[in-house]
Symmetry: C2
Subunit: 364 residues, 2 copies
């Protein structure tokens, strides 16, 4: 591998000068610069960021820790982070924590070992203790989608409380009186914020809050399905369910359909976070959508400003608004008397007669 010394020799200058050219330092004679640039081109020289980082103590890389790159919400966040970082010349390491604090810990240690200049993280637990590795070493950190307690740090969030409130208010407006929520772990701010929004909507409407209708588990389809099953199996089944994220919603749908119920006639459903292709192909689920891409961009920008010493002095807490998209799973169009549309569709693997069909349907 050719080094800066090879280039220097070929250009008849010292390595320092080559370094200056590479880094666009001002005090270089144009002729010298040209000579060096030619040598670089001829040798196809690509500097070692490893050596550069060792000496300069900056790696120009960020670590991004998120639950699962397979979830469209997170891929979109990641895309925003990457696009932004890229324009500033930063590389991004993406790490899947799977909501597992141990995995998260290992990745944080890796990030420190790699000497990432900064870390973006959707922490799997709201206790700042989990981020000690970063805090102790003063690693610039931004939390994405989730807050932590015990360490005031930059954060970029969606308006979980507001989004949840809007969804539940919508259900209430449609006449629902027994509304359940299936949320994520109580140790994540996002899960709790969404429960808070749910509570607020009920209270504002003067409705009682039944703790039995509040279920918590993981932000995963499996957990959503299990919780929904137990909820539906219990007596006094709710007429609507609010799923606190898209993965949970997927599980909830399975649970509802498995019970022979229909959405939204038997059980209405609303959820947080949209699906990408799914909603394009099959715009069914009523959702509160966070601006995922913008959240990624904002988080990266905040972190990069911090790195440049240009950020605000106080940690910033950026909260981006959610958008409510009313589709069909809430039964809105069915009940409001608005345009009620029916679209005959085939469904895989289940026999259906007339309109008494299982599953995702609305009577014509």
């Amino acid at each position: 591998m050719t080094t800066i010394i090879d280039v220097a020799r070929r250009a008849g200058v010292s390595p320092v000068t080559v370094s200056r050219v590479m880094n666009r330092a001002p005090n270089v004679n144009p002729e010298t610069r040209a000579k060096v640039e030619q040598a670089i081109a001829e040798l196809g020289y690509l500097p070692s960021t490893v050596a550069r980082s060792l000496r300069s103590k900056r790696t120009r890389s960020l670590a991004l820790l998120l639950p699962d790159i397979t979830n469209t919400f997170w891929t979109t966040v990641a895309r925003g982070v990457e696009d932004t970082a890229q324009t500033f010349g930063y590389a991004v390491f993406v790490c899947n924590t799977d909501e597992d604090c141990q995995k998260q810990q290992r990745y944080l240690e890796l990030a420190v070992s790699q000497r990432a200049d900064g870390v973006l993280i959707a922490p799997c637990h709201n206790d700042a203790a989990a981020l000690r590795v970063l805090r102790e070493r003063g690693v610039p950190t931004v939390t994405v989608d989730r807050r932590i307690e015990g360490w005031d740090v930059d954060a970029v969030l969606g308006d979980s409380t507001g989004g949840a409130r809007a969804l539940v208010q919508h259900l209430i407006a449609l006449g629902h009186r027994r509304i359940a929520v299936i949320s994520g772990p109580a140790t994540t701010s996002t899960a709790e914020d969404r429960v808070t929004g749910y509570r607020e909507a009920l209270v504002q409407a003067g409705m009682p809050v039944d703790d039995n209708l509040i279920r918590r588990g993981q932000f995963k389809a499996g957990a959503g399905e299990a919780l929904a099953r137990s909820l539906l199996a219990a007596g006094n089944c709710p007429s609507a369910i609010f799923a606190a994220n898209n993965a949970i919603a997927l599980g909830v749908i399975d649970a509802i359909l498995a019970g022979g119920r229909r959405i939204p006639q038997d059980v209405a459903l609303v959820a947080f976070d949209d699906f990408a292709d799914a909603s394009h192909l099959f715009p069914f689920l009523t959702v509160a959508v966070q601006p995922a891409y913008e959240m990624g961009c904002a988080a990266a920008r905040l972190l990069l400003e911090r790195l440049a010493g240009a950020g605000p002095v106080q940690p910033a807490h950026i909260v981006l608004p959610c958008r409510l998209i009313v589709r069909h799973s809430c039964g809105s169009r069915l009940r409001t008397g608005g345009e009620t549309l029916s679209l005959p569709l085939m469904v895989e693997g289940s026999k259906v007669e007339g309109s008494k069909v299982a599953g995702l349907n609305v009577d014509a």
Copy 2:
């Protein structure tokens, strides 16, 4: 940041010994090892992979270049790569090329600068010249999902030809006689393999190949839509379309619906690559599915074996089989007289009457 020297001092040994402990070298006295480990724990020492890499000339990192992390096919591949790399102690850089050769070139140079130990890439062009940066420097490389010409290198592929053939054979069996294909750029092996499979199916069935029914563009929704529009606008509209990947399929669907046609009654549709959530939520599209996760795992494993010097001497070309999933967009259930199911469904934003509905539907 604490260094190996701090640890050495605290443990009363030399840095070399600390290094030996960190790297699980055999020849270390158990007592010494214990002392060192204690010092490491007390100081919370995390070694600098930067310094380590500079000296050892291995970064234990891989670069993964793929078109778009937002596409579920690629996220799944990425997940396979990351999971596998992680178990071997390797980190992964993910880079979005957006099918743009210039961007790809920049990322390849970055990968070399970062001194990634190996590169996994879905090259945006089948000409090996684009990978010159890697070849010249002897960077171990595996292509994923695509072959290149002019450099025999490890590759992990889905059986594009076979999958395409199966899809088109299925359409032929359903009675279609005018079948179009909308593929990706002719400069990617995957796009061409799928056209080849399409051709083979026609030829085997003794059907003529009409070049006018073969369209090529980008593996993107926009391109798919544009090509489908022009295809449908031309006289003698095909009765079925084969979209060469999921993104194209999305665009094709839009184009078909925009023309007031129905799927599959007016135009049947099959595609390569599945959707994740979408197919769970709405199992509509008939597809040939590549084992994306396994492809990622296999590619990573191949590369890591190569790095360990344990790989096969000759470059390996691993081709994984595709699975055909027959759903509804092909009209299969409609025409074969199998279970024909109808599911009334609401559709967002479009007025529909009776069964003469626009869009994704099947008459009851």
